[in-house]
């Protein structure tokens, strides 16, 4: 049954429109419902005593004084939680992967500063914190591994005694003959790149409220999570509770960016305590805890080289990656998620015949690393696009030109990238062209010459990337991991009041269930109007017979079907069941999203402060559903990319103490540090996905660090400086400039 004429199901009325958001009024009025806002009668509060050692044995633990403090209701140690919760680990079928058990409260050992050791439960957070100092822990310090290269050495202590080494994962990719290509190259460029550790800093820190109904034996967890389904499934195993007896609810969540896509110890502890005490319990992370324990990201060392011919064509790329993944392999993504993506996405949107890459994910005495906006791709693009600029400089070629020569062309799709990923199709060249046009590239190069003559340090940055979005069952986001990320289930139902409810695992749209539902409505209406189905039309919440006044609302139709017995015959009702349809959509391969970033920066030639003066993103995200939202995602992503490029860094000292445990020390950009960002959407040849939609959201963070690093290198090229490490803080630039001056 085809839909009526005039209704294009791939361009419903709202696609492409700047629809204002329905959730805004309550968020603006201060009526949002975030986990920290939740109150329950008799609710207790949790505070965690956390390790101040990066690597140590717990010799003894005395909580008696803490328990005795007035207002403290209970105290839990690792042994207590081990009796209440089954052990768990993040598994993967990936070869060479070593999983680690993650005790929600430390058992015999602590492995990073901030690891939770004891949970205090009290009648207020204030009192719970008072009790923390009364816990007596005797540690025996072990050798601390802060540098991942130390953790690789044969004499390195093992963080996990049951594992063979500190290498939690290792993979290799190769295509073609890399050594031969390098031997034949006109020019090579490369070195050691260092993308340093970052933390997401959502303004809402993590929080959980857990309740256990003793009568119904049901557990409810309200949680600041981006993955309620995955959390629910794992808690089911951890607590031996079947699915229907656990509910995980993510109400309004104040930012995630991937930092809330992992299962955290505190969530498990809160559930264990709620069940044990039979009382609702709440834990709200404070900012210090957040900076110490929320999944970190981007801690990658990449030794990489590019070989090009005299015309700037890429002959080969090789890379050796060390990913510092922290003390445990995070659930569910495993320690592989970021390091492996670094090498699998490194070839980018470029034509590369010869590629060799190795990656090792190494455990160290630091916070776990997990998913953060862009995952491994910001590093992939940083390395690849820095290599391109370095090669271009060596052969005297313009950076935009070297990309034009190496970006996959429209007529080469589908293109199998050097790491095995397939780009189905995307507007690589058009994005670069439009970015150059949009920023006035040629004019900027002329202005740069004039500025240089005046002694000003002006730089232009370029970065191009490609990623897979909507990846389906064929390519799991973290290969080998038992989680199907790309498949979406949608259920649309019309109830007996005529109200339509659409539920999704995550927001998405699909065509299938609309058609099925439509058919059912037509059949029921056909019967009620005693008209042929071909003569029925629908729209604006009504059904009617074409060309007549005979009509009814969907609400009336729903009542006729569900409530007014006898109006619709039993046989028809048995066939139709409910006005409901469910569709599961597996994109299988997913599709390619890409973008080009360009920027103009100026560096104060005395203080070395970097100012971003212009920034443009030209993105191919397929058919744009809501331009307001799409642009907002680009703005936010670029802002985070700027933070990573210029100021954000998680810093540890040599004993593993975290030095960036406040927002004074972990510096995120404010409105002054972020420029206006031009965003252009190229709705080019649409992919073969439903509706022609591609994914977006991470692109800003993926391209911006590379773009800015290239711009700074461009500005400093008269001094012979190449940016190999970010953030490019004024201090780092000072060191590079001093060294260059000394040469």
């Amino acid at each position: 049954m085809s839909p009526p004429d005039g209704i294009d199901l791939t361009r419903p009325q709202f696609v492409g429109a700047k629809v204002l958001r329905r959730e805004d009024p309550r968020l603006l009025a201060g009526q949002g419902n975030y986990v920290a806002d939740i109150k329950r009668h008799g609710m207790l509060h949790i505070a965690f005593r956390r390790s101040d050692h990066a690597h140590a044995l717990i010799k003894s633990l005395d909580v008696s004084e803490a328990r005795a403090l007035e207002g403290v209701v209970a105290v839990y140690t690792g042994a207590d939680i081990a009796r209440l919760a089954n052990p768990y680990q993040a598994t993967s079928r990936m070869k060479n992967y070593q999983a680690t058990f993650i005790p929600p409260l430390a058992l015999d050992k602590v492995r990073y500063v901030g690891e939770a050791v004891v949970a205090i439960v009290a009648n207020s957070r204030y009192v719970a914190e008072d009790a923390l100092a009364r816990v007596d822990i005797d540690y025996e310090a072990l050798r601390v591994l802060v540098d991942p290269e130390d953790a690789l050495k044969p004499d390195a202590p093992k963080l996990h005694d049951d594992l063979g080494s500190n290498i939690l994962a290792a993979r290799e990719f190769s295509r073609g003959e890399v050594d031969e290509a390098f031997a034949a190259a006109a020019q090579t460029a490369g070195g050691r790149f260092h993308f340093t550790r970052t933390t997401p800093v959502t303004i809402e820190a993590r929080a959980s409220v857990a309740e256990y109904d003793k009568g119904a034996r049901t557990l409810t967890l309200h949680c600041t999570t981006q993955i309620p389904g995955i959390v629910r499934d794992k808690l089911s195993e951890i607590f031996d509770l079947p699915g229907p007896r656990i509910r995980v609810i993510a109400p309004d969540v104040g930012g995630g960016f991937g930092g809330k896509t992992s299962l955290y110890s505190e969530e498990i502890v809160a559930c264990a305590i709620a069940r044990d005490l039979g009382k609702p319990v709440k834990w709200v992370s404070d900012r210090m805890e957040d900076l110490m324990t929320t999944g970190n990201a981007f801690d990658e060392i990449v030794d990489a080289e590019i070989a090009v011919d005299a015309e700037g064509k890429i002959l080969a790329v090789k890379a050796d990656v060390i990913g510092d993944v922290g003390a445990y392999s995070i659930y569910p993504w495993t320690a592989t998620i970021e390091p492996v993506q670094v090498v699998s996405f490194l070839p980018g949107p470029y034509r590369i015949d010869n590629y060799a890459a190795r990656v090792r994910a190494v455990a160290t005495n630091k916070t776990l690393t997990g998913a953060y906006r862009g995952v491994g791709r910001p590093i992939s693009v940083f390395v690849m696009d820095r290599l391109l600029d370095m090669a271009a400089r060596k052969i005297g070629m313009d950076p935009a030109e070297i990309r034009r020569r190496n970006l996959v062309n429209d007529d080469e799709f589908p293109y199998k990238a050097a790491s095995g990923l397939v780009w189905d199709k995307s507007a690589f060249q058009a994005c670069l062209r439009q970015a150059a046009d949009g920023i006035g590239y040629d004019d900027l190069r002329r202005e740069q010459e004039t500025a240089r003559a005046e002694g000003r340090w002006v730089g232009i940055g370029v970065a191009c990337y490609a990623e897979l979005t909507g990846v389906g069952s064929r390519i799991a986001v973290a290969p080998g991991m038992p989680i199907n990320t790309g498949t979406e289930t949608c259920n649309v139902a019309i109830d007996s009041t005529g109200a339509v409810t659409a539920s999704f695992g995550l927001a998405s749209q699909g065509q299938g269930m609309e058609t099925t539902l439509h058919e059912k409505i037509l059949r029921v209406a056909g019967h009620l109007f005693e008209a042929a189905v071909e003569d029925i039309e629908t729209g604006d919440g009504k059904v009617w017979v074409k060309g007549t006044d005979t009509s009814m609302t969907i609400r009336d139709l729903a009542r006729a079907l569900y409530s007014d017995m006898g109006r619709v015959p039993k046989e028809m009702r048995d066939e139709i069941d409910n006005l409901e349809a469910t569709k599961v959509y597996d994109p299988f391969f997913g599709t390619t999203t890409s973008a080009s970033h360009m920027c103009l920066i100026e560096i104060d030639p005395e203080t070395y402060k970097v100012e971003i003066k212009r920034y443009i993103v030209v993105e191919d995200c397929g058919r744009v559903i809501n331009p307001l939202i799409a642009d907002g995602q680009a703005h936010g992503g670029v802002a985070q990319g700027i933070g990573v490029a210029l100021m954000e860094e998680v810093v540890h000292d040599e004993t593993g103490q975290i030095l960036t445990a406040s927002l004074v020390d972990y510096v995120v950009p404010s409105a002054v540090e972020i420029p206006s960002i031009d965003v252009v959407h190229v709705e080019a040849e649409l992919p073969n996905t439903v509706g022609g939609f591609r994914g977006l959201g991470e692109g800003g963070t993926i391209g911006a660090p590379a773009c800015i690093a290239n711009a700074i290198s461009d500005a400093l090229s008269p001094l012979g400086i190449e940016i190999m490490e970010i953030p490019a803080t004024p201090e780092r630039l000072f060191r590079l400039i001093e060294a260059a001056g000394a040469r």
Binding site: D24, E204, D252, G632, H635, S662, A671, I674
Partner: protein, 159 residues
């Protein structure tokens, strides 16, 4: 156990009397004692600005103020700017310009912007960025927030 202190605070036009511990932060007093959860806690050291409220008309960090210090003062929180069905003009400007995504920094942004619009001319967008520099947002990249405050400033100046 420290002695509790009696306080009377006007919050959004309503007087509240309470006995509180001296160390109770104003942010927690508003959120826990008065169930006004629109004011959010983001850092508890005065950097992120999510907890910003007005005290006697001036924007202040409620995470750096004790409830006992609010005794005898007039406090205004985001809940005083408008209702879900009747948003105030600044809130409308935020909505139109898509100046919020997750909404967590938003109440603080609104209260800071309210004070900025009263105290500063805000001639340029750089002035607006300067004024907002004490409120951190991780979602929006600030661009639309600046546009919303600009729109509100233009309306203010047209009057």
């Amino acid at each position: 156990m420290t002695a509790k202190i009696s306080i009377t605070v006007s919050v959004n036009g309503e007087n509240h009397a309470a006995e509180v511990e001296p160390r109770l932060l104003l942010a927690d007093f508003l959120r826990e004692n008065l169930d006004l959860t629109g004011t959010h806690v983001g850092c508890e050291h005065g950097i992120c600005g999510a907890c910003t409220v007005l005290m006697n008309g001036d924007s202040v960090r409620s995470c750096l103020t004790f409830a006992v210090q609010a005794d005898g003062t007039k406090i205004e929180t985001v809940e005083s700017l408008g209702d879900i069905d009747a948003l105030g003009p600044l809130q409308e400007a935020f909505r139109e310009k898509h100046a919020l995504q997750c909404g967590f920094c938003t109440p603080g942004m609104l209260m800071t912007a309210t004070d900025m619009l009263r105290k500063y001319r805000l001639e340029t967008d750089d002035d607006i960025r300067d004024g907002l520099s004490g409120n951190i947002c991780r979602c929006t990249g600030y661009q639309n927030i600046v546009a919303a405050v600009r729109s509100a400033a233009d309306k203010r100046d047209a009057k």
